[in-house]
Amino acid sequence: MSKNTTKPLKKEHAVQEVIFSLQLAEQLSSDTIKKFFSLKDVFKKEFPHFEELKQLVLQVTPSLPAANVLTNEAGGIPAGMRLVHTLENGALDWSIHVEQNMIVITCLDYKGWEKTWSKAQVYLQTLAEQIIGTSVIKAINLQYTNIFLSSNPDHYDLWQVFNEKSPYLTDNIKKTGSLWHLFQGWLEENATLNLRYLNNLNLATLVKDKEHVTTITILRQAQIDNLVLENLDKVMNELHDDLKKILGNVLATRMAKEIGL
């Protein structure tokens, strides 16, 4: 058996990033975006960096010079916002991004599901409340990016990370060298609950700074007609449980154990 040279990104887990997001049926109006701006004060302590995102609208008519820009607001129409928190060393750990038809919470300082979701849930509920009655939530997304590193790229062993019997690896990938990628997606129907789930599983490898890097990005999306906010916790927990199962079917047993799966 080859020496285990591949390690998860962190000591306790391999998670580089978790993204929680709500997808709305329609693009957010500028009036609704302005309601989000009022949350700047609410989030001030936890997200000291706040940025308004604006959209410039060009209106070109034959009688006006081409460079003329007509907007109904100085500086552009409100299009979204971004809030950021950084650690003491300047690294970003949490961010909120609202734009188009998306409300997105990103965590780069994962501390286990319970702790991370309980924090993200507070943010998501506060944000989602701004759209009650005006927008319809049509999908909830949960996405994890896991990273595994090997300091010995020349002796890359696929099976240190991946399960030999995994249904998510193709025969071709199993035979190929150390650099490859495999992106796949599939839909699942749950007729009983009238739900659909979209799954994306992206596996990729590269060599960076003399280290071999394996990235596993996994997204599960619950497609629901008009989610009731009270069900957010339940749905997100189910997505998490489902993602764990998929990841468990991707990873080698030893690696799964090492990251506490």
């Binding site: 009022s38 700047k40 604006k54 070109v60 506060t126 990005t217």
Partner: protein
């Protein structure tokens, strides 16, 4: 000849992955390029001309009330991040239902009243308090769709209730007392 609008187009960046790093979604994300510089300005973008200062004051007061309510809701929701023994006296965190009962109650309070402040107790109860103008009110939620309360007015008269089902209407004596508190 009427002017025709030949084209109306937003400016978009193609690099959606940079704007929302790493997010894979089924629909394409395209974003506007312009980001306003960091702004300390909380003023609304449009104020009608020739409006009296009293109306403008009311406008900002309503805006501020909305923000204050949001802050209070946020505080209550943040209780979900508390862990066992959070208070050093073996305190337990509140149940999710307790949080949702409390926020539901808060959202159905009438407008134009003094907002309460919130407290979390070590037994998992979430409380809403008013303590002003010699009026004291304590309303508590335990996540069973009910609340209990104790209050005394500025003459010392006490009112109380237990196991009151949370509905859209509050006990009259309680809401009347809340309404007497100056904002």
């Amino acid at each position: 000849m009427s002017n025709e609008i030949l084209e109306r187009q937003s400016l978009y960046s193609q690099t959606s992955s940079q704007r929302v790093p790493g997010l894979i979604v089924s629909s394409t994300l395209a974003f506007a390029t312009l980001a306003a510089p960091l702004s300390l300005n909380n003023l609304p973008t449009y104020i009608p001309p020739n409006v009296s200062s009293e109306l403008i004051g009311k406008f900002f007061a309503i805006e501020q009330e909305n923000v204050d309510k949001q802050k209070l809701l946020y505080t209550i929701r943040s209780y979900s991040t508390y862990e066992k023994n959070w208070d050093g006296y073996e305190g337990v965190p509140p149940k999710n239902k307790t949080i949702s009962d409390t926020t539901h109650f808060l959202k159905h309070l009438p407008d134009n009243i003094k907002l309460p402040y919130a407290g979390l107790s070590g037994d998992g109860e979430i409380n809403l308090f008013w303590d002003k103008d010699s009026i004291y009110i304590d309303i508590g939620f335990l996540g069973n769709n009910k609340f209990s309360y104790y209050a005394r007015d500025n003459s010392g008269k006490e009112i109380s209730g237990d196991d009151i089902v949370i509905s859209d209407t509050l006990p009259t004596e309680l809401i009347n007392l809340i309404k007497t508190i100056s904002i």
